[in-house]
Amino acid sequence: MFNAKFDRRNLLRGMGYLAAGTALGGLGARRAHAQAGAGDARFLIVLTASGGASLIDSFLAIRASESANAATINTYEDSRVQSIADSPFRAIDTQGSDLGALPAPFTANQSNFVRKHKDDMMVVTCTGTSVNHAVAQKRAITGNEAWAGRTLQELVAMQYGDAFLLPNVVMATGTAYIEPGTDKSLPSYCTGEPVAQPALWPLSLHGTRGVKAPDRRFVEMARRVRDEQLDARSKFSRVFEKSPELARWRQQRAATQALETSDLITKLMLFEDSEQYPLSQHGLMESPSGRLVRDRFPKFAEDPLEAQAALAFLLLKNRVSASVTLGTSFNAVLAEGSSLGGGGLQEGDLINPPIGFDFSHQAHRGTQAMMWSRVLAAADGLIELLKAEELADGVSMWDRTMIYVATDFGRDKVRPSGSEDFGTSHHLNNGFLLVSPLVNGNKVLGGVDPDTGLTYGFDPITGAPEPGREMAEAEIYAGIAGALGIDTTGSGLPSVPAMSRNG
């Protein structure tokens, strides 16, 4: 039986650990705004495909005519597998009237994304070490503890985010992709700041704006009295002066001013002034980029992934964060106004199936198609927005950004003979999609054996395919770090120049 609580308890515990390091130590001493030039700026978007996004149901799809075991391996009718011109990638576009037992019609498309972004796409194969969601997710961002347990997000926050207010923001709640690493030597600002509700979160970035309150000057006076006299001298504070909770609280309060003076409550506000969100009545305004992100992610109010993507862009654009983590949910998401009664769901009503990619247990192909479409749409929106933002000197933000589509693991490679509608369990063998001008674009590193559906590896130096070799999580982690220009001195990481655009 479904027992998400047992497992997700661990994931959610992770949210707590996240917060443990988010005191933003030294934020007040750090610069309020990043002034990094294009040369030394890099941004990481970890776009999580939670539940197991299968490469042989997307860019490495196998045509039946290519396989000696076409009926029992997860191959597709030849006509369903699209080849993309001038590219090694394939794509599956599909429509369905249902998703397993769910009467939820859908249309899914991968080919448009591949045609548009193939030059920045790189698929790398990998064989993981766990088919437990939480463990595999964590290993996807630490390379199975490849470098003292540091996550990729923390690496980017440390190297490129020291001037940012919130260098590492994590929104993929309910997953271990947002757990912190285990290297306690990292500065506390590297640890992810959790965001559960992206659209409303900006309201928690200012202590007084939008609140019915006396003159701001009076509030500031009261804060000073509270912090310097009432709190500082109370018996409670003195008795518990060694409390790490109070120390963290003081530190976080000290960070408040930097957040407030940066006016993030405005810069990150997704909503427009409306009857539902009467901003102007409360002295608030939408973000100057509000319309831009709403146009790109029009369902942000009902689809958490779109809301996360919209906020992710604003965090990067405003140089608040160097790393953002967003992703598909394990929770079912239905469109506003959809009804379970009166003939089932209509097309578009089911935005996210329950347990996300993991709904492949019930309906493999439909789930993979629908979920890949969701992930690619979010990536496409972010890429378009970032391409239009100049970082410096004619270099766009996209030129310095990497999207890492992190996934837990692959799915079973076999199917009931000839079946088009089947369920799959977890499989260690799979790989990852990376999209970035920084990676070795328009390449599949490694390959897939059409007779088994298993991916094989590549030479980490040259990128040449090596049937019989399996890529380890640590190698992919190292390749990503390398493409991002992370200083890995002393890390002991392997060298994987094949994953970087310039080798």
Partner: protein, 229 residues
């Protein structure tokens, strides 16, 4: 394919994922609290002779948003539903700052357990709740001081306190402490809030007494003593 809605509900209820098979847990988290650097003290020294013995095992917990809002509602004699609303529409604790204030939200975000530590936004969220509640209390009391719940003892003339050193001011401060932190205010605390009024009164304002009532309440309600237990 059947379009019976029951099928949908059934499938949603009994969807079987891989979770049941998982007996492993995620990599263990750090088993020690990350080091936190104590900001330099910005305090006046405590009164001579006021000696306390610091706890060597100081383990504190932030009140959850629900608990905090209930405490404010009780202390300020406000209906819980009127403690704080963002944009005038959305309950600050239930709808907006729930997670930052230690709540859970399993259905949309998959958050089944409260954060174990405070985040950068937690103090701000707490400030917003306290400020909204205190401002509402002051506003209502000053609209009808004769029937005020908390600030009725104050003697106000032309929007200002008639005498900040008068007994009713101390009585009001004592009520704030009794209502919000369940103890009497010390003489230092009384003096600090009186000094706050003096500082505020030097700034031109039509309703400095009401403003002082609101921000004094906010200052007490958002002390660490009021927020942690």
């Amino acid at each position: 394919m059947s379009r019976n809605p029951l099928n949908v509900a059934f499938a949603l209820l009994f969807v079987t994922g891989c979770m049941a098979d998982n007996v492993l847990k995620a990599e263990p988290p750090p088993d020690e609290t990350p080091p936190v650097t104590m900001p330099p003290p910005t305090t006046n020294p405590p009164p001579a002779g006021d000696v306390v013995v610091p706890s060597n095992n100081a383990r504190l917990k932030l009140k959850s948003g629900q608990l905090y809002a209930a405490a404010l509602a009780s202390g300020l004699e406000l209906p819980r539903a009127e403690v704080c609303h963002e944009l005038g529409l959305y309950d600050c604790v239930d709808d907006v700052h729930n997670i930052a204030l230690g709540g859970i939200e399993p259905y949309r975000t998959g958050i089944l357990e409260p954060l174990e530590e405070t985040t950068v936004t937690t103090p701000i969220a707490a400030d917003r709740v306290a400020l909204a509640a205190c401002t509402t209390r002051a506003e209502r009391d000053f609209a009808d001081l004769a029937n005020a719940k908390l600030f009725g003892a104050l003697v106000v003339k032309d929007g200002a306190l008639e005498d900040v050193s008068a007994a009713p001011v101390e009585a009001t401060i004592q009520r704030l402490y009794q209502r919000l932190v369940q103890r009497d205010a010390t003489s230092d605390e009384v003096a600090a809030l009186r000094d706050l009024y003096t500082e505020m009164a030097a700034t031109p304002s039509a309703d400095v007494a009401e403003s002082w009532a609101a921000v004094s309440c906010y200052a007490v309600a958002s002390t660490m003593e009021a927020l942690f237990y």
